[in-house]
Symmetry: C2
Subunit: 338 residues, 2 copies
DNA sequence: CGTATACATGAAAACGATTTCATTAAAATG
DNA sequence: CATTTTAATGAAATCGTTTTCATGTATACG
């Protein structure tokens, strides 16, 4: 492959001048500019990315950490992130942690190796203290998980309020014993939602049931399993707050199969307003997050820090959510949604 | 940040020796090795990725091109690709083309810039001749789209046979006028499936209807729109071959809403065996592709070419598909699936 | 005991760009 | 016209590694 040196020789000029042309810098005469451009074309020259990165100490690449890309919430987030990054001239490296702290650390190392300019974390598997170390090597933006002590920008909805509203919605539609079904492992999202959930129960004089429900994730499979756990151990439950629409869908799928009626026997609410929540029969009431906007903001905040420097301060970017009411929580009608 | 030079000075040794330790090379005595390791630890040294890439002419990064990550077929593919790549020590850059030829070319340029070692294309927006040029800069593996003249490994199922079997299945379950609904733009997948579709019709003495149905994609929205187009212009159609489960789900959603019964009035078959095909009511008959295996093979083939060199020859890797029969094509029972 | 052979080490070249600095020529200024 | 500015150019340093090559020392061999 041709190097800048080859181009320079071919054009009878110096590397410096060629570099100036490549980078659209001033102080190069028109005739030389043309000569360089011709030479580049003739040799099929393309600047070598590695050399550029080394010299300029920039990679124009960011890493996005997430549990797994098949989760619709995360692939919607990353779709928008990739588009926004592309607008800014940045590439996106996809990093699936599968909820493993070690994998997360491996990917954070990309920052120390200077393989990426910055990182967006949409989930958190290590203690924040572990992650904080990496801020020495480059900026980090937190999406979704709101660590209130983290000296970085955090982008999220008000999870507590959303969960509170969802729970109130269940109660007002007739639920009196409600299960809180969130993905297996502890997280800030989990805790914030649980807080809102308990606040609503408390406010309405409902005592929380101490359940021993377990699910490893917020996917369809978990929802299906949890239906059977509830049937077996907590048959009196008549309301379900699910951590995702997929989980709600899995739950409803098994309920329908078992002849348990939603919403007549159990009210179900999901989260994220994914396609599935509209398509299911009964359709699923859910909380909508403006993920495109959140994703865009994350990228903007990160790129800004990369290009203009960053200082360690906590900065919250809270986006509005919206409750989308559908059949799964509606005691009045129970047929096809509008 | 500390460089290899700093480590060398700290340890009182040369860069060369430090490099040997980093890369686990022989010819370094045990005491020196320890001294280097201590120095690295003391200085918090991590090798700079850009410098490494420049010197070794390797990036240990691959790019995966796809239309959009929110399409479940593609995010399932890329989930497995990322995992496999990670096993081999490679990073994955995600490249959404949104079906735009220009965007595709932009991403192919990553190969010329030496920003990636190789590329996996899961879709094709340019003429193959355009793409072929890039083979000068690095290996490419084609997934899904089977360009029979392309001198690269291609990984796919037998789309023609799958479509043929799906169509026969519709016919044997009573469909006599069948619409072929595939995503908007022309593609090899499209053509192969259409071939199989027409072969089945022809074999069973059914003349294809010349429809003017248009959809821009294979997503839920397209499926919904197409239902209405069919209702309005081709009311006699009683069978639908949809290019994806999402499309089939959108179609069925609108059908149910309009009081058209599936499968009684129209039989519907989808593609990919995504979660949605099981969750819908009626559940959707579909064709399953072994995408984990296909994804894994793609990465293996690419990495192998990166590390051991590649020669330009066409090489087909065909994987088995499977028809999963469900309610949407079953005239006998029409209630809850098993 | 002389001579291959393997082991250990470091100086310097290389990877391919960008950037600093020096130099010269041309234009503007008083 | 002398002097300051501005424009145009290139030589060489730099980014941080890996690799080649040279050199020295210990070990094995006949």
């Amino acid at each position: 492959m041709a190097t800048i040196e080859d181009v320079a020789k071919f054009a009878g000029l110096s590397r410096t001048t060629v570099s100036r042309v490549i980078n659209d810098q001033p102080y190069v005469s028109e005739d030389k500019r043309v000569r360089v451009e011709d030479a580049m074309k003739a040799l099929g020259y393309v600047p070598n990315s590695s050399a550029r990165r080394l010299r300029s100490q920039k990679t124009e690449t960011i890493a996005v950490l997430l549990p797994r890309i098949t989760n619709p919430f995360f692939n919607h987030l990353i779709e928008s992130m990739e588009m926004k990054a592309s607008e800014w001239g940045y590439q996106v490296i996809i990093c699936q942690t599968h909820n493993l702290p070690d994998k997360e650390r491996d990917y954070l190392e990309l920052l120390r190796k200077k393989q990426v300019d910055g990182i967006i974390m949409t989930s958190l598997e290590n203690e924040w203290e572990v992650v904080e170390e990496y801020l020495q090597s480059g900026p980090i933006v937190l999406c979704n998980e709101n660590v209130s002590t983290a000296p970085v920008p955090v982008v999220h909805i008000d999870q507590e309020k959303a969960a509170y509203e969802a729970t109130i919605h269940l109660i007002e539609n007739g639920a009196s014993e409600i299960a809180f079904l969130q993905g297996g492992h502890d997280s800030y999202v989990f805790r914030d939602r649980e807080k809102g959930f308990l606040k609503a129960l408390n406010e309405r004089g409902i005592s929380p049931i101490e359940t021993e429900l377990f699910s490893s994730a917020v996917d369809v499979k978990s929802g299906r399993e949890l239906f059977h756990q509830i049937q077996a151990h907590y048959p009196s439950i008549n309301g379900v707050f699910a951590g995702s629409d997929e989980m709600a869908a899995g739950f409803i799928y098994e309920a329908v199969k078992a002849g348990v009626k939603v919403p007549e026997d159990i009210l179900v609410i999901g989260f994220d307003n994914q396609a599935i929540s509209m398509l299911m029969n009964p359709s699923i009431t859910t909380i909508e997050q403006p993920f495109q906007k959140m994703a865009g903001r994350c990228v903007e905040l990160l790129v800004q820090q990369v290009e203009q420097g960053y200082n360690l301060k906590h900065e919250e970017h809270v986006f509005p959510h919206r409750l989308q009411s559908r059949v799964s929580t509606s005691r009045q009608t129970n047929l096809v949604p509008l």
